[in-house]
């Protein structure tokens, strides 16, 4: 069954057709990759999914409910979490506080004036956060200030912050962009582990073919704002249209 279903979405910026009649189904319990050359509309699509942009026409249904017209925080409360290209964390806070914020958001909703309770007494929340940190191997860094961590650790923390909310759908925006090879490998391992242990549905936008082919169950290729092909990784690899539109004339290492 489709957890997220995008139907006939169009978006223009002035004269530029950023998205043209995009149809896309992300099935429950799969990892769906969206690839495409620069300017293909991947980021625009993602911004539509999280409520940052409103499309000119079309529908986006998540779990039977429309997400269009809802604000990012409302969409998150529906169960969609987003990992950014550069890790978006609370840099001035320590790791534990970073983890507690999504925990409170999940429990208390968008706003609650819990000004007179003490964080120390939120035992169950702390336990939950610690368990999650343990899962991503960061428990030893719980008191560290987030800004002092390495890029890889920031990415890990961001994912932990998303996962601790137990989202139904995890959106990943080029999670390995700009990473060193070792960090990329680590991130892939982490994502695989999350898939295995948590069975969370993922939609991933990625440039690195290595990442795409080692994670995705299905791949959609976007070109000029329109889905070109949608198929399994194996089929995509050999697809002539894809090679022409996306990979150019010359074959690319990671694909073959």
């Amino acid at each position: 069954m489709a957890l997220l279903s995008v139907k006939g979405v169009n978006k223009r910026f002035g004269g530029l057709q950023a998205l043209g009649d995009v149809n896309l189904d992300v099935m429950e319990n799969t990892c769906h990759a969206i690839i495409g050359p620069n300017g293909a509309g991947k980021s625009t699509l993602l911004n539509v999914l999280v409520g940052k942009l409103i499309p000119d026409s079309g529908s986006v249904i998540f779990d039977g409910q429309s997400v269009l017209g809802r604000k990012p925080h409302q969409i998150n409360q529906m169960g969609i979490s987003r990992v950014f290209q550069t890790p978006e964390i609370f840099a001035d806070l320590n790791v534990m506080e970073n983890m507690l914020i999504p925990c409170f958001a999940k429990r208390d909703g968008a706003f609650r004036m819990h000004a007179f309770e003490s964080v120390r007494h939120e035992k169950s929340m702390i336990k939950k956060a610690e368990a999650m940190l343990d899962e991503v191997n960061m428990l030893d860094k719980r008191d560290m200030q987030a800004s002092a961590m390495s890029r890889g650790d920031k990415r890990r923390l961001e994912m932990a912050m998303c996962l601790v909310q137990e989202p139904r759908l995890l959106l990943l925006d080029e999670p390995t962009a700009g990473m060193a090879r070792a960090d990329t490998e680590n991130t892939i391992e982490l994502l695989k582990l999350i898939r295995k242990d948590r069975g969370v549905t993922m939609a991933i936008i990625e440039h690195d073919m290595n990442v795409v082919f080692s994670l995705a169950d299905r791949i959609t290729v976007l070109a000029q704002g329109t889905p070109l092909v949608e198929d399994t990784p194996d089929k995509i690899k050999g697809h002539p249209k894809v090679r022409e539109a996306y990979l150019g004339e010359a074959p690319v290492e990671g694909v073959n």
């Binding site: 925080h73 609370f90 806070l93 819990h114």
Partner: protein
């Protein structure tokens, strides 16, 4: 103690001790001695210490936690003052209802101003709050004269007849707490020392303790973490299912209520109010206090308010003659040089010292005097226990 950690309880106890023993601590020099002019333990000034302490603690809840720099907070202090004086004129000269009214009214205004101003952030927010405050100042000064008394402001007069407990003999009513007047003082003479214990000061002091306690609780609450998250990354907050605006607005209203409380207390102490209290320089002053002491720290604002008010009232009174007296032991020419060098920075020039101090803090000590103190303390500790792991260095400044 009261749901605080041991460390916070210690902090609370220190502030409690400072407030209770202030008449002693601030009057260390014997009467009539050369240093007596450094005594700050007279009621009027002590009241100002705690009232501006409350104002700065409240401002810190907004700026220190969320990073939103309001340049119009004095407006809420002024509104609190006007509300309190009307409560005294019309209802009762008892200060408690007046103070409560001032908190509520200032909070209501803060809700409106905050709601509008928070539609923008950054410099736009600062300018909007400034514009609102200047507008309220101008209105209090001119248009609203029937309510605010215009330029001269409002005082309690002998024509005022409050509903409850007005003065029987047609005299000028005085602010009181269930009959005990704010001006009541008990003077204790110990040798050459004179200590004054003033009722008004202690009432304001109790409010400071409550305000400080609430501030600690907010700092340590999930709400406090959310406010710091606003400062750190609003985008992530949005994508974590939270509404940074509503958290910031709550902080704005709370800090507006603190300002209202301070304004109400001012009226309780001197039973008068004028529009200059709302002028933007007054807003600038609380900004300076908070940052000088240490924005985002618990003690900082109280400390900053103390330093500024001490300079304004004590350092500013030093004149050239006093300086010459001090340096009289030096050779004549040398004495003149020293006096000429020092004089621009004290006495009437105290603003210059304050400005330089403030700039230094912004440039070198973003954590204010509190961070400075911590650094010095750490230096000493390191000297003592040279190689032991310094575990406290990792905890954020508090």
């Amino acid at each position: 103690m009261f749901g605080l950690t041991r460390k916070d309880s210690k902090l609370m106890l220190i502030v409690f001790g400072l407030v209770m023993l202030a008449p002693f601590i601030l009057n260390p020099f014997p009467e009539g001695s050369a240093m007596a002019q450094f005594n700050a333990g007279y009621p009027d000034l002590m009241q100002r210490f705690v009232i501006f302490g409350i104002f700065a603690v409240g401002f810190n809840l907004l700026f220190g936690l969320t990073g939103y720099l309001s340049f119009g907070h004095a407006a809420f202090l002024g509104i609190g003052s006007y509300a309190a004086i009307w409560s005294m004129k019309l209802v009762t000269l008892n200060v408690i209802p007046g103070i409560l009214v001032s908190i509520v009214v200032a909070g209501a205004f803060a809700l409106v101003v905050g709601f509008v101003s928070l539609r923008r952030s950054g410099i736009y927010f600062s300018i909007l709050t400034l514009a609102f405050a200047q507008m309220m100042f101008a209105m209090a000064y001119s248009v609203l004269t029937p309510i605010t008394g215009g330029e001269t402001g409002l005082q309690i007069k002998n024509t005022d007849t409050p509903l409850f407990g007005g003065p029987a003999d047609g005299g000028i009513g005085r602010a009181n707490l269930f009959g005990a007047e704010m001006g009541n003082s008990y003077e204790l003479s110990l040798g050459n020392h004179l200590f004054t214990f003033n009722l008004g000061y202690y009432i304001a002091g109790v409010f400071l303790l409550i305000a400080f306690y609430v501030s600690i609780r907010i700092f340590r609450s999930p709400f406090g973490i959310m406010l710091r998250a606003v400062k750190s990354n609003q985008q992530r907050m949005n994508y974590t299912g939270l509404t940074p605006k509503r958290y910031t607005l709550s902080a704005f209203v709370i800090s507006g209520m603190y300002a209202g409380l301070a304004g109400g207390l001012m009226v309780a102490m001197d039973t008068q109010v004028g529009p200059e209290r709302m002028f933007w320089t007054a807003s600038g002053e609380v900004v300076i206090m908070t940052i000088l002491g240490g924005a985002g720290t618990l003690m900082g604002p109280v400390l900053g308010a103390g330093v500024i008010k001490y300079m304004e009232n004590i350092i500013s009174k030093i004149n050239k003659d006093i300086l010459h007296e001090w340096f009289a032991f030096m050779p004549d020419g040398f004495e003149d040089v020293i006096v000429a060098l020092v004089y621009p920075f004290i006495g009437k020039g105290w603003h210059l010292t304050m400005g330089i101090l403030f700039m230094m803090v912004v440039i070198f000590l973003p954590g204010g005097l509190v961070e400075g103190g911590q650094r010095i303390a750490k230096l000493f500790r390191r000297n003592k226990t040279s190689d032991t792991q310094d575990a406290t260095s990792r905890t954020p400044a508090e």
